[in-house]
Subunit: 240 residues, 2 copies
DNA sequence: TCAATAGTGTCTATTAGACAATATACT
DNA sequence: AGTATATTGTCTAATAGACACTATTGA
């Protein structure tokens, strides 16, 4: 893994290392992402700009990258155990004006009812519809990271149960379908959708739930919250 | 992204940062991975153990993480532009006895005929069948990384053209099928396989190629070497 | 009984797998 | 011709999408 000379490389220039988290949720029938505002101090890079929540690894407190991501998420959202997966890493000599830096990006899906107050006196933060967030110039290369996160969410929505993690339990199939439609940006057939979800076996029945009017819907829970279930096919395979 | 105090965090403890590459190829009808032997000096971590090729980022020479991965790959294999994608990152306080460290793992597929001599006086290296590699205790958490790489390769082989990058052009369909079978560890139906590959449209005809005996096979080139093509379905969707 | 929403049934076009048949090379 | 391999054709079962229909609630 490392070079040949005994401990010479320990004096290598060490890059700055951070962890950033792209947190998605569905609010007001729109897909939204959590952003924080950078401090206004002129010594800081990108003063006042919107950025993804994240920051330096605390080598004293964080045992692993994942633990660091969880900590930052907890600090900003109060949510302790959401769906969280690694997105990728971005590193270069130029992405941070302070020097060579590498960030480990994570990807979280949370449901809104679980929303709580942030714990610490954190900088200004807010939920922003993704279309708005993509339009802005975010700090660092966070625009690129957000784009990658969105691409992954949409891609996985085509063949996995991932969007289910955007909803609070109990989940109803009409709700879930609406969520898929918001993420994918197109309408889906009701009958085919239900068959697909139910056949996939990631839902388990859990007491009925009323709706605004009309017939109440069956509620479901997610069998395994640690990972999304993969469907055998993509949504609209035909098309050609 | 970062904390609030002006430049205080620049004095944060910086983790060690490395890049490792999992290089796969098919040799002798088996899936193999490239490993290097760690220096024997007792001051080094894991002396003499097998490890993934990789090492510290050279903040002076490497402009980006990807460039760093490319450099390391070139040094070990002589291959300049193989299929290369990011696999993920692993970081913790304990993975390297020298201190908090994070590695950015990449994933490369190369074809054997392109094999050349390594450029520098590098440490001992060799191709090893994955079964053998998985059995050994690799240095650091490289066993875990290799496992993740293998899982991704097998997973993507189910629904993308990825295994095509393991072959030199011109590629024949029988060759490609054999490669899929090696990666997936099961036999596939010839007719269905050909339809799948040809319909996906990632191959373009390129002069015939002879085989050991019998009818010669049509040769194909890969239209776009920068990314794998995604099939609309998984291989054996039925099964239930 | 009507409006609203949830859930089911059925038909059809597509297609992956199975496997038989045919084509083209070399000896 | 005979052997070896590549390539194509056909049949069938599975299933996704389309869409009409039924069910269950509240007003």
């Amino acid at each position: 893994m490392e070079k040949t000379q005994p401990t010479a490389h320990l004096s290598f220039d060490r890059p700055l290392v951070t962890v950033d988290v792209v947190v998605f949720t569905v609010r007001q029938e729109r897909l939204q992402v959590l952003l924080v505002q950078r401090p206004a101090a002129p010594r800081e890079p990108f003063p006042g700009a919107w950025a993804l929540p994240g920051g330096f690894i605390d080598t004293g407190a964080d045992r692993t990258l994942l633990a660091c991501a969880r900590r930052k998420l907890k600090e900003k959202t109060g949510v302790a155990s959401p769906y969280l997966e690694q997105l990728g890493s971005w590193g270069s000599a130029t992405r941070d004006p302070r020097g060579w830096s590498a960030t480990h990006a994570y990807f979280a899906l949370i449901s809104m009812p679980a929303e709580r107050e942030p714990q610490s006196g954190a900088p200004v933060q807010q939920w922003m519809p993704i279309e708005d967030a993509m339009r802005r110039k975010l700090a660092f290369d966070h625009g690129e990271i957000l784009e990658a996160a969105l691409a992954r969410l949409r891609s996985k929505a085509e063949y996995t149960s991932l969007p289910a993690f955007l909803l609070p339990e109990p989940i109803t199939l009409p709700q879930l379908q609406q969520t898929y439609e918001i993420v994918l940006g197109r309408v889906l057939d009701k009958s085919a959708f239900r068959r697909r979800m139910l056949d996939a076996g990631f839902l388990e029945e859990a007491g009925s739930v009323v709706g605004p009017g009309g017939r109440p819907a069956q509620g479901y829970g997610i069998v395994d919250r640690s990972a999304a279930t993969v469907f055998p096919r993509t949504f609209k395979s035909g098309e050609a």
